[in-house]
């Protein structure tokens, strides 16, 4: 496992606060342009953030109290996998982790799309696996009634994760031989059909995409409750948790108490334990990197940050902290540095920060938080950090193909 805390920035629209677009300036009109996304992701890349995640959904946006599309906040967005692919050539080291749903999509397209992202980014692709639970999304596809229960959605997601993983392994590293003497481009014994027949999905053949640089891009899953943690233990390489996320019932900091606390809180321990228990129950001896999801507004002082959050809440007409699944922190760079250190000492691999305002807070993460973490010895300097594939950066072991020939099968040089 990586010794220094992992830092991931979660990108979504103009930021995670529903009123953030009102302070985004001209960016609010450019949310569907490549220019906007390239600017935001390149900034993270240059600073040395380990990865960015890109949210996605088939809905146009959230609903208001009348059950209609809430056009007081950002509505409309782009496909996350394609945005990640488009910014890949402009970036050098940052991991690119789009959300790709498994509920209404074709596992074959999901697998090949992510493999292609891994090829174009030279090994920096990841996959935030997600289900699409809403009836609204089901109605846009019109293939099933919608309203599937969580157990059904997770069962389907497990099958898709399995079949995608098989497709990712379907080409051996050395399948392409280009043997002019026999006229053979590939050794077909080194390509394996997925041969997966499930209750929800079936895929017969091999991927059309040759094995990608990482083999299997790391899979991220959110484990905010027990069934999701069990799913993550089965399907994910990296687990996101929301310690102290208040949800509708009230607000609390991730390590207990409101705002960042310097003690080791029960909430953070509990969220981590949920994942470790699930790993144990699944019989997995892998201790997955667990990242704490924190929604952050970063100010020059705690009071300035609190005022800015209050202003956004007033503009939105409701408290974001009461709606968010992750803890919402109006905070400062020094407080965040200290919190990252505390979480690391509890056993967290790092954090995924959800900037409440993009670009303001994402810029603060890149330009102020990262250097402060370096100064605190919690990160290596960009210049001294070797460029590596995303699995390595996250402390996830290299992906060995399920079809890998054992040493005994291979010729031993004399």
């Amino acid at each position: 496992m990586s010794t220094r805390p992992v830092l991931v920035t979660a990108l979504q629209g103009a930021g995670w606060h529903p009123a953030a677009w009102r302070v985004a300036g001209p960016a609010a009109r450019r949310l569907t342009s490549l220019r906007h996304w390239r600017d935001v992701v390149v900034e993270q890349d240059r600073a040395g953030t380990d990865a960015v995640t890109l949210e996605d959904s088939f809905t146009a946006g959230p609903l208001n109290q009348e059950g209609d599309l809430d056009t007081r906040t950002v509505v409309g967005r782009l496909d996350a996998l394609l945005v990640a692919s488009a910014v890949a050539p402009a970036t050098r080291a940052v991991g690119l982790v789009p959300t790709v749903s498994v509920t209404h999509t074709e596992p074959f397209h999901v697998a090949t799309g992510l493999q292609t992202l891994d090829h174009v980014s030279a090994g920096r692709a990841g996959w935030r696996i997600q289900v699409s639970p809403t009836a609204r999304e089901a109605a846009l596809f019109g293939r099933r009634p919608g309203g599937d229960d969580a157990a059904t959605l997770f069962a389907e997601a497990r099958e898709v994760a399995e079949v995608v993983s098989r497709l990712w392994d379907s080409w051996d590293d050395d399948a392409i031989i280009r043997d002019v003497a026999t006229g053979r481009f590939i050794d077909r014994d080194r390509i394996h059909g997925a041969a997966f027949v499930g209750e929800h999905v079936s895929v017969h053949g091999a991927s059309i995409v040759p094995r990608s640089p990482q083999g299997r891009p790391p899979v991220f899953a959110l484990a905010h409750r027990a069934d999701a943690a069990a799913f993550a233990a089965d399907a994910a390489d990296v687990v996101l948790v929301t310690p102290g996320g208040a949800g509708p019932s009230g607000s609390a900091g991730p390590t207990g108490g409101p705002g960042p606390s310097h003690g080791a809180g029960l909430e953070a321990r509990g969220a981590l334990a949920l994942v470790r228990d699930a790993e144990q129950a699944a019989g997995s001896d892998v201790r997955r990197p667990v990242l704490a999801d924190l929604a952050v507004l970063i100010g020059a002082s705690a009071s300035e940050a609190a005022d800015a959050l209050a202003a956004l809440d007033a503009a939105a007409g409701s408290s974001y902290a009461e709606a968010s699944d992750a803890p919402v922190l109006a905070t400062t760079v020094p407080e965040l540095v200290s919190l990252v250190g505390d979480l690391a000492s509890l056993g967290y691999a790092g954090v995924r920060l959800r900037p409440l305002r993009i670009p303001e807070d994402s810029t603060a993460v890149a330009r102020r938080l990262v250097p402060a973490l370096v100064a605190a010895g919690l990160r290596a300097d960009v210049a001294s950090r070797p460029t590596a594939d995303l699995r390595t950066r996250l402390g996830v072991a290299p992906a060995v193909s399920r079809y890998a020939r054992t040493t005994a099968d291979q010729e031993i040089p004399a």
Partner: protein
């Protein structure tokens, strides 16, 4: 201003068939992004209208095993086009995408995204399939009757356009002071109920720069041509011989008239290979060498097996054609590609007659009968041929299919493009900020024109 008709060119990324010579000394990876980037930048240097990419849904098979003699493996079409959006500025990016193994809302969302990411340079080659071979890789399998392929494709495109139209161009207002991000009254929910699709709700992507990505069609059957006449803006045709090309174009013009569209609303671009030489003889010599590289001994046998429909692996390709008769009763041994031969017995007889008459070995016969749609000659000969096709309405240009990846297009760009420009029939530069539709010189949107003519 020139009154000459303008040539339009598309660059076909080398495919997974034996046109692509992977054994060439300069051939590079078919999957590395550097290959795609070189190819796209070079096509853009040559002011091509668009780059064209085929799609793979299953690895091709012969005799129950993956066909291993051609290039195998390619990227996901949408993801690689999105990546190319990041390294190009003017050239159109057109991908082949199935209507059978996709759902309209998802594909429309992806294509609208690509159109945003490229500032209006996206295109969609609509293809249909129904076979269980490809279907085995997808949720619903080979669920579609052959006859319903075009019904579904037609409804799919119509529905995609409904989705793309559902956001008015000015729906996003971003009025920070008033707290209104979008004007709800300018976002229409889609409520579509047809034989193939039931789709209801709000499309997730705001109006894209072209409104509709350019629709391309390649099917050559009667239904394919009708679909092109109703829905397409560009046809990628197989008809490269001059008279055949002109007849095909005339046929499409008639079909267009039947649905109230004019011939200027649909560009016809035959796919063709181009072999250049300093002299005609030099070009012929290079062409022969390329044909031999394309038809290796193993490829010649595989080609025979597709017609004979039986194992011929022991056959000597330097000798005469096999004595045995084709197996016309067994299930076809070739899967994942279009079968070209309808009457194997007659084909075999014709080939035997030709091989006897011209004293051809098996391999030479295969080379002779599988050569099609190519232009061979000096750059000036080729430029004048392209010009002739376009001025005499046999085509509106060509889809250039190179032999090697990724440098196969370079010579065409260096040597033919300048001659077309000198002739005043090809652009010297792209128009600033042009969408693909305006680069193609197309008048507007299919839907607008249908509304006008309705």
């Amino acid at each position: 201003m020139s009154t000459k008709r303008q040539v339009h060119l598309a660059a076909h990324f080398p495919g997974v068939n034996n046109t692509t010579v992977w054994s060439d000394d300069r051939a590079e990876s078919q999957i590395a992004f550097s290959s795609f980037e070189h190819f796209a930048r070079n096509a853009e240097r040559g002011c091509f209208d668009f780059l064209f990419l085929a799609e793979g849904l299953r690895l091709r098979e012969q005799k129950g095993r993956i066909h291993d003699l051609d290039v195998v493996g390619r990227p996901n079409t949408l993801a690689i086009l999105a990546a190319l959006a990041g390294v190009t500025s003017h050239i159109g990016l057109v991908g082949t995408l199935q209507t059978t193994f996709n759902e309209p809302v998802e594909l429309a969302e992806q294509l609208a995204t690509l159109d945003h990411l490229t500032d209006g340079r996206a295109g969609w080659n609509v293809v249909t399939s129904s076979d269980a071979f490809h279907g085995a890789n997808f949720r619903r399998g080979g669920f579609l009757d052959h006859a319903d392929r075009y019904t579904r494709a037609d409804e799919f495109v119509t529905l995609a356009r409904e989705l793309w139209d559902s956001w008015a161009p000015d729906a996003v207002v971003a009025d920070a002071a008033g707290g209104v991000f979008a004007d709800r009254s300018r976002i229409r929910d889609v409520d579509h109920h047809g034989p193939q699709f039931d789709v209801r709700g709000t499309f997730p992507v705001p109006r894209s720069p072209q409104r509709h990505p350019v629709v391309v069609q390649a099917g050559d059957s009667d239904e394919g041509r009708d679909l092109a006449a109703r829905q397409a803006e560009v046809v990628f045709s197989l008809h490269t011989e001059f008279d055949d090309a002109r007849a095909f174009r005339a046929d499409l013009t008639e079909r267009l008239a039947r649905v109230g569209r004019s011939e200027d609303e649909l560009l016809v671009l035959p796919g063709a290979t181009f072999v250049l030489g300093d002299t005609a003889a030099d070009a012929e010599e290079r062409s022969r060498a390329i044909r031999r590289a394309q038809v290796s001994p193993a490829t010649a046998i595989a080609f025979l097996e597709q017609v004979w429909n039986r194992d011929l692996s022991g056959h000597d390709v330097d000798g005469p054609l096999p004595d045995v008769e084709p197996d016309v009763d067994a299930e076809t041994i070739t899967r994942g590609r279009v079968r070209h031969v309808r009457d194997p017995r007659a084909t075999v007889q014709a080939w035997r007659d030709r091989a006897d008459a011209e004293h051809l070995s098996t391999r030479d016969l295969v080379i002779a009968v599988s050569t099609r749609g190519g232009f061979v000659g000096t750059p000036s000969h080729i430029a004048s041929e392209i010009d002739r096709y376009v001025q005499e309405r046999a085509s509106d240009g060509f889809v250039v299919v190179p032999h090697t990846n990724p440098y196969g297009l370079d010579e065409f760009v260096d040597r033919v493009v300048p001659l077309l420009q000198e002739r005043g029939v090809y652009r010297q530069a792209y128009d600033d900020g042009a969408t693909l539709r305006s680069t193609l010189g197309l008048p507007g949107h299919v839907l607008d024109r249908q509304e006008v003519s309705a």
